[in-house]
């Protein structure tokens, strides 16, 4: 980031193109760099450096306080035998598999419903999106209150229609807890998926629909042959954002189940959090983080591939 290194070669190609402005463009180059520098500094110091630092720590036996030693890849080897971590990976994958498709289907359906400029559609969009705005943390607290046996509204409502007894303890049984969290998350996230699909649908040229109409295509055919193929990259994008979000799940489980019963609903991020801040094994926690970064990076890389395939 040293300006002397950055600016001198920079001005030369420009100067060749616009010889009269060379002095000014050199000043321009410096101004541009100066303007971008603060933001760049933040990103380097608080995002890129920690990433590298984390990889370094993962090769040590760094305790939260005290001296440390290099131990090579021992932390990574230990990960395989760390049953809580391994189980947290399996659980997080299972959770991701459960919520991803329902979020997409509900989001797609909602987008179909609100996409036309019919009276009321913009108001419906706003209302469906509200849970996403309020945030999962606040809603998890509300869910904790309403999922209590006997006193919670969920059991009260479900027992009226005979779907659950009023004493169902949602958050202390593995299957029930996972169901409750999944339903909450699908409800929370559907609005976001809707917005993505809606943006995609609005970017499809209307001529395509007019042509389909001219060809006498019905609603299903149009949806299947025109909308879905045109939405390919939006669907890929939306799925990837949602998968990455699920792989990084923490708040809803920390608040609603605290990983329980036992450690059956511990997610990967919870496992990292616990290793670093409760067990104070920073080296091991960093190794877990590196694994997480690689997995999330791979998913994001897939996103790029999808986009490039489509961008041709």
């Amino acid at each position: 980031m040293a300006p002397t290194v950055a600016t001198r070669p920079a001005t030369e190609p420009q100067a060749r193109r616009r010889p009269r402005r060379s002095a000014q463009s050199r000043r321009n180059a410096r101004t541009g760099l100066l303007l971008a520098a603060p933001a760049l500094l933040f990103v380097v110091v608080f995002a890129l450096y920690p990433l590298g630092f984390g990889a370094y720590i993962s090769l040590t036996n760094w305790p939260l306080v005290g001296a440390y030693h290099f131990i090579g890849f021992s932390n990574y080897a230990a990960l395989i035998h760390n049953s809580v971590f391994v189980e947290s990976i399996l659980f997080t994958l299972k959770y991701t598999a459960i919520v991803t498709i329902p979020i997409f289907i509900v989001g797609y359906g909602l987008a179909v419903f609100v996409r036309g400029n019919r009276p009321g559609s913009t108001v419906f969009r706003t209302l469906v999106f509200l849970p996403y705005i309020v945030g999962l943390v606040t809603e998890s607290y509300m869910a904790v209150v309403e999922l209590q046996p006997t006193s919670g509204s969920a059991n009260w409502l479900l027992s009226k229609v005979g779907l659950a007894s009023s004493s169902t303890a949602w958050l202390v049984h593995y299957g029930l807890a996972l169901t409750a969290v999944s339903i909450l998350v699908i409800w929370f996230y559907a609005g976001f998926a809707m917005m993505m699909m809606l943006a995609g649908m609005q970017s499809i040229p209307t001529e395509l629909y007019e042509a389909a109409k001219v060809d006498g295509a019905g609603w299903w055919t149009t949806e299947w042959r025109v909308t879905l193929p045109q939405l390919r990259r939006w669907i890929a994008l939306s799925l990837i954002i949602s998968v990455v979000g699920s792989l990084l799940a923490f708040n809803q489980f920390f608040i609603m189940t605290d990983g329980g019963p036992g450690t059956s609903t511990v997610t990967v991020v919870m496992s990292i959090y616990d290793t670093a801040f409760a067990q104070m094994d920073v080296g091991l926690a960093s190794a877990m983080s590196v694994v997480l970064v690689i997995v999330v990076g791979l998913v994001s890389f897939l996103q790029f591939r999808f986009l490039r395939e489509d961008g041709v």
């Binding site: 990433l51 720590i57 006193s151 670093a276 920073v282 970064v293």
Partner: protein, 297 residues
């Protein structure tokens, strides 16, 4: 129909088709829309209503009579008693204001720099900013904890704001760069001819044009910092510095005594209100940012 080749006429016909939608279909559309909206809004509205119930009603089986006595009891207890969260609300506000100002300022400057100035490595630098978008902050929590510790920024609202700013910058810089790219080149040339300095051009010529972008950036930064949980939970250990979402986890587990769900609901509603208010007021700026954030990825 098949004979019509002119797209303008076709579009007219399509429009007429929509206008001829029978009143009955419109009615059922509204009915279905209201039903769907209720699924998403009613639970939130229900919690607002419940938060006005006395704690005794919230922790016993719900019944119609229990809605007879609505009061501010929970809110009064929450904002004055043992579980006083007023301090935490103020902490959240301080962090949010810091984050919003810093993010908007830095993103605007960087967006200006990246859009309207060419400098060596600008592509690389922009790529670095976007790279931060790919880094999940959940995965750098541990090293960041140690870094903030050595910078004496742990247990500090300023430290938390710097962290929030960093992870809001990628979207912000992207939105602001696009805003500046949309400014007509003639306008910038005219300012240059008039001899306006870089700062003057930004403040008096460009500011009104990029204000919507700044609103988008600020709105995202606010919602992020107001609702963020994991970072605040990790980087703050002093109860007095807790932001609202973290303080509520103390209320949930009854750290200061018995668990009181009335207080928890009231606290959750307090956390919810600013989000809803800000979103409803600035909605059009929100959608722009959402798409920019998604597309950039």
């Amino acid at each position: 129909m098949t004979a019509v080749r002119n797209p303008a006429i076709r579009r007219q016909q399509a429009a007429r088709g929509a206008a001829h939608q029978p009143g009955e279909a419109r009615f059922w559309y509204i009915v279905a829309g209201v039903a769907i909206s209720l699924v998403f809004v009613l639970p939130l509205a229900w919690e607002v209503l419940r938060s006005f119930q006395p704690e005794s009603a919230i922790s016993s089986a719900p019944s119609a009579q229990s809605f007879g006595h609505l009061s501010f009891e929970n809110y009064r207890a929450l904002l004055s008693g043992q579980d006083d969260i007023l301090r935490n609300v103020i902490n959240s506000l301080i962090v949010a204001v810091f984050t919003v100002i810093l993010t908007t300022l830095l993103a605007t400057l960087a967006g200006y720099g990246f859009a309207l100035f060419r400098f060596r490595g600008s592509g690389f630098a922009f790529g670095m900013v976007l790279l931060a978008f790919m880094i999940p902050f959940q995965a750098v929590l541990t090293p960041l904890f140690m870094e903030l510790h050595s910078m004496h920024l742990l247990n500090s609202l300023l430290g938390l704001s710097l962290f929030y700013t960093t992870f809001n910058l990628p979207v912000g810089v992207f939105v602001m760069r696009n805003s500046f790219l949309q400014v007509p080149a003639e306008l910038i040339d005219a300012a240059k001819v008039d001899g306006a300095s870089t700062t003057k051009t930004l403040v008096s010529v460009l500011r009104p044009l990029v204000l919507p972008g700044m609103a988008t950036t600020a709105l995202f930064a606010f919602l992020f910092s107001w609702t963020e949980f994991l970072g605040a939970l990790s980087f703050l250990t002093n109860d007095n510095l807790f932001t609202l979402p973290v303080a509520l986890s103390n209320v949930e587990t009854g750290t200061y005594g018995s668990v009181n769900y009335g207080l928890l609901l009231a606290g959750a509603v307090i956390a919810m209100i600013p989000c809803v208010a800000v979103y409803v007021a600035l909605q059009r700026y929100y959608v722009r940012g959402l798409l920019a954030g998604a597309l950039k990825g």
